[in-house]
């Protein structure tokens, strides 16, 4: 079954899973957006502009980081290769546009992020499945009965772990009534995602060691968790004041 799935969505077709997840996520987010005080139009507009910024920002950031290569081949800046892309720069650009749009429309950024939380949650599931299809984000070798055969070893199905953890977070967010205080829903999602990554990264084989064998990805997840807890506390306090 895994082999059929991997053949069906072998790279570059694994990107289809992300597109399906994005479409499904936006559809579901649209259903609940008004509970967070954001209209469907605003949600669609902010998603559209942020997506454009994500694509353009990812390319610009990549070009800036590899300026010597692009100065010799300037046409490469507009080439269709999806591999000329920096996801961190893309995220930063999308966030900047999201902030700018919210300011312009006098919307609370926290409310917009809350409205988009279901989109992020479903995208996280899609990301896990696309990693499974591509064989990336692979796990450490294991003897456990649920290990999958990948890259000539039986390995932890870390991509499935990610997809399952993201699904559980989605179910949790879906079952609970949307929190009326701006930011709580998004930060709860952020904290749960950071916590799941902190735990699951231990089973990944493609990690980066920073010092004393500590994995960079887990350290980043720990700081993301700390940031989410701090912001959650600030948001809860400001909600209690009002």
């Amino acid at each position: 079954m895994l082999e059929t799935f991997q053949n069906l969505f072998a790279p570059p077709r694994h990107m289809i899973l992300l597109v399906i997840a994005a479409w499904l996520g936006l559809t579901l987010a649209e259903r609940r957006t008004e509970k967070f005080g954001v209209s469907k139009d605003d949600l669609n507009n902010v998603s559209f502009y942020s997506l454009i910024a994500f694509v353009i920002g990812g390319r610009i950031s990549y070009v800036l980081q590899n300026i010597s290569a692009f100065s010799k081949s300037p046409l490469g800046i507009i080439s269709i290769n999806p591999d000329l892309f920096d996801p961190i720069g893309a995220l930063a650009a999308a966030l900047i546009v999201l902030f700018a749009y919210s300011q312009r429309k006098q919307l609370s950024v926290w409310s917009v992020l809350d409205a988009l939380t279901l989109f992020f949650a479903i995208l996280a599931i899609g990301l896990g499945l696309s990693h499974l299809a591509a064989g990336t984000a692979f796990g450490l070798p294991t003897d456990l009965p649920w290990g999958i055969n990948l890259w000539n070893e039986t390995r932890h199905p870390t991509q499935l772990y990610d997809a399952i953890a993201s699904s559980l977070i989605l179910i949790l967010l879906w079952r609970f009534k949307p929190n009326p205080h701006p930011g709580i829903t998004f930060l709860t999602f952020g904290a749960l995602t950071a916590l799941s990554q902190l735990f699951l990264q231990a089973f990944r084989a493609d990690y980066t060691v920073i010092f004393n064998g500590l994995r960079q990805e887990q350290i980043l997840a720990w700081f993301a968790l700390l940031a989410c807890f701090s912001l959650l506390e600030i948001r809860i306090r400001s909600a209690n004041k009002t």
Partner: protein
Amino acid sequence: MNRTQRIILYLLILIAGASWIALSAETGEATATGPAPQAGFLAPDFTLQTEAGETYTLSDLKGQAVLVNMWATWCPPCKAEMPAIEKMYNEYKDQGFTVLAVNNTFQDDPFNISPFAENYGLTFPILLDQTGEVSRNYQIHSLPSSFFINRHGIITEVIIGGPMSEALLRTRIEEALK
């Protein structure tokens, strides 16, 4: 839950998280040791011949950065990226970069290969995968597929599909040459 209870909960989770990080810490190589067609792994070795009968073995090229490009004459993106590959080969070969263009001969017409190479003025070795063994070992699902391999024989990047632009080739070659 009041504020004190929440903060205690946050602290407990953060302490448990830090302990888990320490517990799961490891030393040594982050990547696997065996060969596999994936970034971070040793590139699967192969020995193939050119049409002229010259033999090339991938492992003999250790110390050089290698681009293994899987292609076929009927594949439009393979055709589209060949001029850029040729240009980069000429630009970087003196720095220790080489290209092994593995033709999927088992899915191609062998009589088209020489005219193709002449038409595009290709000077790098074109190897013939007549049995499909290399294609199977590299788990090729799409053409073109490109594997950038560093001087230690480790795959640094896999690019599925094409055509690759000059800029993309440049960034990946410079990474592999480091």
